[in-house]
């Protein structure tokens, strides 16, 4: 309920004719119409989605490797790593973004998507890591041993045993990193090459003078699409959805 309160408001307001999102409610599709004519906003949305998707995947990948590797490290080192990983969580992104920009400049690189992704990965990584960590801590090591004893190499053991046990955490971690990246403004703002924009940048920039409910409309559409995807996936896969999101405990 609580979770969806602002979402409902947002969706309702996207159908309200008032530019300032105010009551009384008058139904209107003008913002959707506006949206479809607003190429910039649509393209920014597409950019955001793919940047976030890449970030999410890379983060899960790195986080999983970090967690697997850190198992064999000493406690001291693990502690140390933990602090390192939490740094991007603590330092305001503004500073992360700016310092990345300064570094790129100092080394005379061009702004590029690569650095945008790097920045997104750095700030989203702690989310994947922490989610995985919560899951990893009491994984039964006998399973990995059993796999090795059956002749499986490290990679296979990982792929067939560790991965499925960790899968729910990886999916969740990936989602979180996706969310963080999708919603990120400052890092993209500092690092994006010109002519390339993301949804948060469009929104943040509009806000000086006031954004239109077109933004609400975009958000509503994103939510709608996600929900439809969810429903479709749920229907098609039925019970096998479990094998993706979580093993039967």
């Amino acid at each position: 309920m609580f979770l969806y309160t602002p979402i409902v408001v947002l969706i309702v307001m996207s159908f309200n004719s008032s530019r300032y999102n105010q009551l009384p409610f008058e139904f209107s599709l003008q913002w959707y119409q506006g949206l479809f004519e607003n190429q910039i906003l649509l393209e920014a949305t597409r950019n955001s989605i793919w940047i976030a998707a890449v970030t999410g995947i890379v983060c899960v990948f790195l986080a999983t490797m970090l967690m697997l590797g850190s198992q064999v490290l000493s406690h001291r080192f693990q502690h140390w790593m933990q602090s390192l990983m939490l740094m991007p969580l603590t330092i305001p992104w503004l500073i992360m973004g700016l310092s990345l920009l300064l570094m790129i400049r100092a080394m005379n690189f061009d702004k590029s998507l690569f650095f945008v992704l790097a920045g997104h990965v750095v700030i989203s990584l702690p989310y994947s890591v922490l989610v995985l960590q919560a899951r990893m801590q009491s994984m039964d090591s006998a399973l990995e041993e059993a796999s090795a004893s059956l002749g499986a190499g490290a990679m296979t053991t990982f792929r067939r045993i560790t991965l499925p046990v960790l899968a729910p955490a990886m999916v969740a971690g990936g989602f979180l990193s996706f969310m963080i990246s999708f919603d990120n403004f400052v890092i993209s703002y500092f690092l994006l090459p010109s002519g390339f924009s993301t949804l948060p940048i469009e929104i943040q920039s509009s806000i000086k003078f006031g954004f239109t409910p077109e933004i609400n409309a975009v958000s509503s559409i994103i939510i709608g699409i996600s929900l439809i995807c969810l429903a479709v996936v749920g229907m098609i896969m039925g019970s096998s959805i479990k094998s993706i999101f979580g093993k039967e405990a």
């Binding site: 979770l3 947002l10 310092s99 801590q137």
Partner: protein, 272 residues
Amino acid sequence: MQKKWLTLPGLSVLFVFAVAPLFIMLFYSFQSDNPVMEFTLENYKHFFEKSFYLTLTWNTIKNSFYVTLISLAISYPLAYIMAKKLKGARNIILVLIIIPFFTNQLVRVYSWLIFLQDGGIFENLLSSLGIVHGVLGILYTRTAVIIGLVHAFFPYMVITIYLALEKLDNALLEASASLGASGFETFRKITLPMSWPGIVSGFLLVFVPCLGTFVEPRILGGVNGTVIGTVIEDQFFEIYGWNFGAAIAFILLAMVLVSIQIFTRLGKERAV
């Protein structure tokens, strides 16, 4: 290949794209503002000299703490129900929890603003239910900020706790019951400690970012929405105060790292 090398890519990414650039900022935080840059501790000193910075910091910590606690209070039961009571629906719920976050933070915050404002939807709702008469008066209070922040952060908590609970072996709960423990006792002594890693991760994912936020406090907090995050933001966006801004950020980082050390110490005693 040794397993520990698996940490290499992750660590190098962190070093190259987080630690290294931050050294530049660290350097700034020790620079004076004068056109001629020189090493100084002035920025750090300045922060501790002005009592209102300390007050702000303290308020920010308090706020973050409340947000974390409330998030925990909301998340735990939800995660528990998902992990232990629901069988088929839980993955759907998990995704349902995440989906709202595919909208922009600002948009969500503004939605809260509209929802909570006097004469807004919430007030209408409550008064039509007869719960509240007259002006609601939630917007621009600390309550509004906390509502906004809890909403923004608690899903992280739900997810980490859910993942920790999901793998908790039911036999342990049964063993506890067979030893005479009530549901509550079982929860306190078995479920809770076993989900401790999840709580720790959740705590970090809520508390730490909460310290640095500025959007929700500024928009929902009104005249009292100033937090340490907004101060840092102003230093960078309003005046050319990188040195001081960076210093505040590093002070914040130091506090977080210290408290994490304490926290993980606490957690280690309970480690499996």
